[in-house]
Symmetry: C2
Subunit: 269 residues, 2 copies
């Protein structure tokens, strides 16, 4: 099965009744416990994208990982909380056996041409074709992506003469390549491992509790990226008392900022 | 009325029934259209803080400003969506006349002592007592804060020989001073004007559509700040097609990162 079919299958939903959809977790996007959070986020967004009352394009999405998602069937409830003239606010709940496993809110809008100003330039990085694909096969979802690290590979030996640094810089795209859309951009925004893994050489329990994406990319910008690589940068600001933040950005190969993303991440010890 | 009473009054809620609270908008925290978003965010957090089923302290909060909040009464519905052993996920809805005006999700947790590492240092800034309080009296909520700008005052003439810059750096605290707590930190995280105002000399319509706070501060760190100033920095990454992001941080006077905050902000033209 090609990746594009694996991803499309992972986020596929069937309408059940007004505001309710049915889906199934995907073998291809398995993580340690349950599915890759980026796939779950893409599923929630997809419920809005295919909702008959949807207005406009995604501008912001917040996903709260409330409990483990078990392998198998789930339901998505997608409720438009408020629809204005050109904006729309959504509540999204993923449930299994009647219990909330993931909650989310999304904001969609019809965007217009305005002043356009990019304040955050893409960092300098060698071209993706000069870098090797990292072969990580620990979790099945890793295999669905083409990771090409510039620096900051998780769980690598830390050089003791260097200050602790939680920054990763990498090229990333779907594997095999698949044209970028809002769903795949949503998943790609979650490919950055917990930053605690940059401070440790051994795996310790950790996981995202809440993630927020701001979509800068308009649909014409997504189309322009096509199957190109995205340059991703992620860094923690502080890790303290069981929780850390991380701020991430994704740029196109020609330096257009497509996504700003933040996460709150649990870590043990 | 002293500020501490003004703020405490603005966020005061009365229990009505299970999960439902009643409140009233405050004259002291009026903005252009409706109340200051930071006060609304603090009200939503406060519903959880005083909920009998609340577990732990706030770790993340996302607030979606769905529609204008009219002067007068409102209801807050605070529903625990999922309670785990040491974590809890909340759904919060602010309603007027049965219609959702603000939606939010919050994540609370019992935090433990772990590795502690701050990656983002406080920027260099002159001490707050060497700077003048900015006297902005356009909106009533401004008067509830002591703003001391290092740079990046909104709506100031832009020097044409300088590149466009959306960064503000400022000291901020409640006016008159009030000991910091999770509610006031929530409001302080929203004192940064829309970044578009750093690119323009004249007011144009703009407003936050979604805001996410990550609380790094533990209760002992809040107590240590007391009535001290916070150093705040905010900057946009990109402003494009009606929406911009902004990433902000708040540090204590001794350089401890207390809050990471992001916003998605609408702007006209």
């Amino acid at each position: 099965m090609s990746h594009s079919r694996a991803f499309d299958q992972a986020i596929a939903l069937t309408p059940v009744s007004d505001n309710v959809f049915k889906g199934k977790t995907s073998e291809a996007f398995q993580n340690m416990v349950g599915p890759f959070g980026g796939a779950t986020a893409a599923i929630l967004l997809n419920a809005v994208l295919q909702h008959p009352q949807r207005l406009g394009d995604p501008v912001s999405l917040t996903v709260n990982f409330a409990g483990p998602v078990a392998d198998g069937d789930f339901e998505i409830e997608a409720t438009p909380l408020r629809t204005n003239r050109s904006t729309q606010h959504w509540l999204l709940l993923q449930k299994q056996n009647g219990e909330v496993v993931t909650s989310a809110t999304a904001f969609f809008a019809i965007r217009r041409e305005t002043l356009s100003e990019q304040q955050l330039s893409a960092p300098q990085a060698p071209a993706p074709d000069t870098l090797q694909r990292v072969d990580i096969s620990i979790r099945s979802w890793f295999k669905q992506y083409d990771f090409r690290f510039v620096h900051g590979i998780p769980l690598q030996p830390h050089r003791p003469d260097q200050p602790a640094d939680t920054e990763s810089l990498l090229w990333i795209r779907d594997f095999p390549p698949r044209p970028l859309d809002y769903s795949s951009l949503t998943a790609l925004g979650d490919v950055f491992a917990p930053r605690i893994f940059l401070l440790r050489e051994q795996f310790t329990p950790s996981g995202t509790v809440s993630m927020t994406h701001y979509f800068h990319a308009t649909s014409d910008e997504l189309a322009k990226v096509g199957t190109g690589f995205l340059l991703g940068q992620a860094k923690a600001s502080r890790l303290h008392s069981s929780y850390a933040d991380q701020v991430a950005h994704l740029w196109s190969e020609d330096g257009v900022l497509l996504l700003t993303s933040t996460q709150s991440v649990y870590f043990k010890e």
